[in-house]
Symmetry: C2
Subunit: 240 residues, 2 copies
């Protein structure tokens, strides 16, 4: 399993993913699920993945190949696409294509392999956008009304987002909210695990403003997690 | 969907269920999901149900028929069974039987119909017990390490239980915890809805100590829900 969350705020994009993958309960690994494509000042794209690892790795690898292809065009390369909408379309088509290829093989074994993605970023001259791409390649977009998108194990971490996140939330508060949303998920689902990858893209920066890996022994994260637990217990004790 | 939760504490059993059922998103009804069987001073049993309504109604109706049968035996009637373990076994067998009957019909339509149950109570001379019965009729039991069981939409309401419930939690606090657990679920999943049914069985009381229906306009519940929201926002603002 996986938990990835992205916020689209007036102040910028805040993205957080875990890194745990498992092939069965007894085969647990750490794989990066956050990928950055950047041409500072021109465009910045961050993708996060959930689902079958062979599907997401192949999709990312092919998107990368298409970027490096000397014959790349705005229709094939996410680094040449004319808008973030085109980036989402290219990514969705690739994901759908890889999923269909894999499905043909999986069907023979009566198994399923799907994946979903979050694609976020900004192109110079355009606005920041945040998309959730389904296994079929279609996608939805975050809006002011619903300024966040999640993939993977989304339920445990949703209540805190619903309570505190609006499009006007400042970046510092948003950072705290996604970390607490992840903390709730880590506590309740063993298949979501540290380390975490966090990226913040300030509006119109056209680059990743901050990219941080939060390791399992990160003291700030542990302190925040403990403070939140204590605050919840205090709040519980206070109300009638 | 449904959310039912049961706590097995040293002080007693605390049980809470919602009442919303739906056949498709456009066909929503209110049905009781909590059922009481009681012979005060002798035995008390409370059951809660989740899943296909035809399966749970038929299971409950047949358990009731078996109780009323003049030829009822400790092997057929939950009101004559010699222990709560036997009550769980009889209930599990009935649920499994009804599920299998229904499955034969549903398979012809390529549909599925399953249900699960929580069975809680005490028989004179025995201890209080709390079981979760799976559609196949097998069951698990709450213990001191894991003093609560949930059926239906369990994820949203789990974090609060994990944080505050132990076997030593007093009944008043437990009541607050299950109501807040339900409140989180109601907020996040439209297929779980008011009114609620709550039952409390104090240890060795051998009767339902308190049975309350909490209506949609219940002022105490609304006040608790608002206080909890405010407390969460305050806690969020305070931590660093």
């Amino acid at each position: 399993m996986t938990y990835c969350v992205g916020l689209l705020l007036k102040a910028g994009l805040v993205l957080l993913s875990d890194t745990r993958t498992n092939a069965g309960l007894d085969n647990i690994s750490v794989y990066r699920k956050m990928f950055t494509f950047e041409e500072p000042g021109e465009r910045v794209i961050v993708m996060m993945t959930a689902g079958n690892l062979s599907v997401t790795q192949t999709t990312l690898a092919r998107l990368g190949e298409a970027v490096d292809d000397p014959e790349a065009t705005p229709q094939t390369s996410i680094m040449r696409a004319e808008s973030m909408l085109d980036v989402a379309t290219i990514t969705g088509e690739m994901l759908s294509h890889v999923t269909a290829e894999t499905k043909a093989r999986m069907d023979r074994m009566n198994q399923a392999a799907t994946a979903s993605m979050i694609v976020a970023g900004q192109r110079r001259g355009g606005r920041m956008r945040l998309f959730l791409i389904y296994p079929e390649g279609n996608f939805i977009e975050a809006t002011d009304d619903t300024p966040y998108l999640q993939i993977g194990e989304h339920k445990y971490g949703k209540p805190i987002l619903d309570r505190v996140i609006t499009a006007d939330t400042p970046l510092e508060e948003a950072r705290k909210a996604v970390l607490l949303s992840m903390d709730s998920t880590l506590r309740s689902n063993l298949s979501v695990g540290m380390p975490l990858d966090m990226a913040i893209i300030e509006t119109d920066a056209l680059r990743v403003s901050e990219h941080r890996r939060i390791e399992a022994n990160d003291e700030d994260f542990a302190a925040m997690s403990a403070a939140w637990s204590q605050a919840l217990r205090d709040a519980f004790a206070r109300i009638g």
